[in-house]
Amino acid sequence: MIFTQIQRPAMTLGKYAAILFYLTFALFPLYWLLKIAVTPDRLIYSDGTRVWPSEFTLSNFSAVLFQTDFLSYFSNSLVVSLGTAGLTTIFAAGAGYAFSRFNFGGKKIIIAVMLITQMFPLLMIIAPIYKVVASLGLLNSLTSLIIVYTAFNIPFATFLMQSFFDGIPKDLEEAAMMDGCSRFQALRKVILPLTLPGLGATLGFVFTAAWSELLFALMLISKNDTMTFPVGLLTFVSKFSVDWGQMMAAGVLALVPSCLFFIFIQRYLVQGLTSGAVKG
């Protein structure tokens, strides 16, 4: 569409000011995280609210990496988050496809039940979950976390995937079936490639949720060697002091996989992959 836009300097300025304000507001905590992480311990209080520390150091990072169990927490978190994201996405894709394409008995009830599971605060079910996990002998194992996270993320992820499948015209599958595909072939060769943005979004969403989960990890894990990163972060708080510098450095490092993950999937997140399929 072609249309002329009347340029109003005041409006343009206002727009940029609003964007700038928003960005500052959103990114300032991250900046502060980074700033404290590169500030030497002895300057944390004396530097006060200076925007950039008077002395720059990477010692917090090396301390975190080599003198604490950070790497073990980190790899535990990675295992749990990737496992959860992978499992959840597989289940959610299957369920979402079924909800989107098939009519079967009890469909409405299942959807309603899945919605209900999302209504309760997690705190309410922590005790029963603990009991179940304990009697299965899975306390202090990463498996227990993967199972619990997967169970809690599936409903939302399913609805997310369903909406992505709903966005793909049914005609495409039918055309594939007329072209000689079985339903499964049509799914694999036509629908799946078009659902990559949806799979990417679901993977990303579940990964971040699992990566930063604290409550269950705190309850189900008490041994140092199976602690995930958010629990491990608490070990920087000792009885008498908080090691701010190392804590922030660990925080910065913990952001890395999330960032990498989103850089990796962002190309699947771009919309418009299905454009040109049908009239448009």
Partner: protein, 359 residues
């Protein structure tokens, strides 16, 4: 190539019956058009033939083999969708060759076949493009190419031209007609556009409300519609219908004028008269004809359409060949060509004719 038979075919969704008692024998190589207003079940019928919609009752046969429960992939029928349904992540060549890819044909064979079909459709310069980089007409052509390449037993078209603009629609219509001549394949075509139906079909099936209203050649439907629905659906502008009462050897119009109808066997059940706009002549008022005043006059160049308010009868549409000088507000006489008049009973059925079309 294939002969397709529908025997007492029916379709219902739960308790809602959308199609009933569909009987149709489509000869090998025939071009059959299913036509009807939206919601008449024509697309559903096509999808049942394709295998995309289960058949509730009756038999569907291809070459005398019952195919009711055969999967779409095994029916060897190609379908062109209204939305084109091109695979957006594949280029034109792969879109066209997809069925061969699934069948396991070699890349070499696929390529030569794609080029061959692409040549007939003028697509060879576009083979590397993605669907989103094509215009509507080009997408339509790719969708057709995808169907042709398989050399299927029959082609199904589901309103393939309805997404194109008027000029392109005429062009693609011609192309489909040519395609049918060239491939002489069995084709079943769904449309709500009667012009497409009349121009393309060997036989037209008029559907309304889940029932077949009439099956016949385009001229049959135009000249001898079986009922009022078909009469008004086929032909443009629409046939005029006015109430009449039976009279000896003809009918009497509401304004008292007698019309002799020797081409009808018996007019005792006459209830309404249908006359096409092109079968009404504008004449000088001689006291023996209808009189009317022109409400709106459309000059189309080749024809003149007059929306006339006929005294004692109400509005009627008149189409005069050529360009005449009538303008809005003019008074003139009208004469109905009695042999072209259709008389319908109170149930809407056309009354039986005494002699056939030749008269």
């Amino acid at each position: 190539m294939a002969r397709i038979q529908l025997k007492n075919l029916a379709k219902s969704y739960g308790s809602v019956e959308v199609l009933r008692n569909i009987n149709l024998d489509i000869r090998d190589g025939e071009f059959v058009v299913l036509v009807g207003p939206s919601g008449c079940g024509k697309s559903t019928l096509l999808r049942m033939i394709a295998g995309l919609e289960p058949i509730t009752a009756g038999d569907f046969e291809i070459d005398d083999k019952r195919m009711n429960d055969v999967r779409p992939r095994d029916r060897d029928i190609a379908m062109v969708f209204q939305s084109y349904a091109l695979y957006p992540h594949m280029d034109v060549a792969r879109n066209m060759g997809f069925s061969m890819e699934i069948r396991g044909d070699s890349a070499e064979l696929r390529k030569s076949r794609v080029t061959e079909v692409g040549k007939t459709l003028g697509l060879n310069s576009l083979l590397q493009r993605l669907p989103k980089e094509l215009s509507g007409g080009q997408r339509q052509r790719v969708a057709m190419g995808r169907a042709i390449i398989r050399d299927p037993r029959a082609f199904l078209f589901d309103e393939p031209l309805s997404n194109l603009d008027a000029a392109l629609r005429v062009e693609m219509r011609l192309e489909i007609a040519r395609l049918h001549q060239k491939l002489s394949a069995t084709m079943i075509y769904v449309t709500h556009d009667q012009v497409e139906a009349l121009t393309l079909a060997d036989r037209i099936v008029v559907l309304d409300n889940g029932n077949v209203q009439q099956v016949g050649s385009p001229l049959d439907l135009y000249e001898q519609p079986a009922n009022k629905f078909v009469a008004q659906f086929i032909g443009s502008p629409t046939m005029n219908v006015v109430p009449v009462s039976p009279a000896k050897g003809g009918v009497t119009l509401a304004n008292g004028l007698f019309l002799s109808t020797p081409h009808l066997a018996d007019t005792s059940e006459a209830f309404e008269l249908g006359i096409r706009p092109e079968h009404i002549d504008v004449v000088a008022d001689d006291g023996q004809c209808l009189t009317a005043v022109a409400d709106v006059v459309e000059h189309l160049g080749s024809d003149t359409n007059i929306y006339a308010l006929v005294d004692g009868l109400g509005p009627m549409m008149v189409r005069v060949h050529g360009n005449i000088a009538t303008k809005s507000g003019d008074r003139f006489g009208l004469r109905l060509r009695a042999p072209n008049a259709h008389i319908f009973g109170s149930d809407g059925r056309a009354l039986a004719r005494a002699i056939s079309r030749a008269a």
